[in-house]
Symmetry: C2
Subunit: 224 residues, 2 copies
């Protein structure tokens, strides 16, 4: 039983219940919109407006939020900064996450140089690669480590999340060692199924599969 403090609106009794992946993804999207409109000086948003900007329905927005509490005012809508702050807390974004980049190739380096992660509280504290020519090179404020020290680096840097951008064939070995290093969150770019213990969460980014899904869609409607 968790004993952590939540804000008044949060429903402790429901927090542990099945929240679907799609709900979480939408929450993340709602938060983005709230931050954007908040910056633009808007202070209230209805479920309808939120739905329109995120490509869903007003009922869906209200249902998603209702899983965590009552954050709106009937007749009025949602207070933008307040709801944003609730969502940040729900999503666990009221802290910094320590991220290691495992794989320093094309994708890995693009993610590193792309500042978008750090701005949202994901700090890259280590980069690892198997290529001896890369080991020791300086990436921004971190020195690239040899992947043979993986477990040690993960523990020394208290890494929470690993971003895996290694070739498929290297996955089984590296994955075991990531888990052994105590990491319980993995963002996986390799086009293989990661087999992990149940206390480890994996999210996949499969760009080629998305392209193939586009190919399918175009083939369906195309030809005329």
């Amino acid at each position: 039983m968790p004993e952590r403090a939540f804000t008044a609106g949060l429903r402790l009794d429901r927090v542990r219940l099945n929240i679907s992946e799609s709900t979480v993804r939408r929450l993340s999207f709602y938060l983005r919109i709230l931050e954007k409109t908040g910056d633009a000086g808007v202070d209230t948003l209805s479920s309808e407006e939120l739905a329109e900007r995120t490509g869903t329905t007003a009922a869906q927005v209200r249902k998603d939020l209702s899983l965590f509490g009552s954050f709106g005012k009937r007749g009025l809508g949602y207070a933008v900064p307040q709801l944003a702050s609730e969502l940040r807390e729900i999503l666990g974004l009221d802290r910094t996450w320590r991220v290691a980049l495992v794989g320093g190739g094309r994708i890995g380096s693009a993610l590193f140089e792309y500042g978008g992660f750090r701005h949202r509280g994901f700090e890259i504290v280590a980069v690892l690669d198997a290529d001896p020519a890369k080991v020791g090179t300086i990436w921004g404020d971190v020195v690239l480590s040899d992947i043979s020290n993986l477990e040690a680096v993960l523990r020394a840097e208290s890494v929470d999340i690993v971003v895996l951008t290694i070739p498929a064939e290297a996955v089984p070995d590296v994955l075991d060692r990531v888990v052994a290093g105590g990491v319980r969150g993995i963002l996986n770019f390799a086009p293989v199924q990661l087999r992990v213990p149940s206390d480890v969460t994996v999210k996949d980014v499969h760009m080629v599969m998305e392209l193939e899904a586009l190919s399918f869609a175009l083939s369906q409607t195309g030809g005329e």
Copy 2:
């Protein structure tokens, strides 16, 4: 009514029926496994084995495939090269798709240098950016074009699919022009909802949202 020729096993009557996004994503994954095991010399695979390697269930595999035809042999399983070829056709991968990269920043250049797309039949035939300093530079075998010529380039190169890696604020304008350029498939990396006509298909890759979903998952189980 489509009049195109399909192989014997394909069910013309069902091809247009609702195939869910999850089914398509799995088909793409099955294909990968088939190609990998085919290269390893395996010539037959059961739904059970396919399921294990893709992280789903045997029933799911059979159901997915049954939406398009009967490709297996009872008591035996699926012939690897044959099923791979069927899936390639179903997914529309029996041709080359012409892709334009719109946005030549971090992500865009990483995707360009990453060879994984071309190997699967997605050929990058144009790269466009708004930065005058980049226009005219040579990327592999293409010259980077000014985004002000967007529609013209898309038409001249017969672009099928656009990969959008531009900042969120540039999206509304560029998106309209992508659609005006006749493109009906978009792989979107910008963290905004794309509003497009119904004959245009969009697939999103939202890496930061995936990270936030990880943050949520870790917050749920963490703390003890």
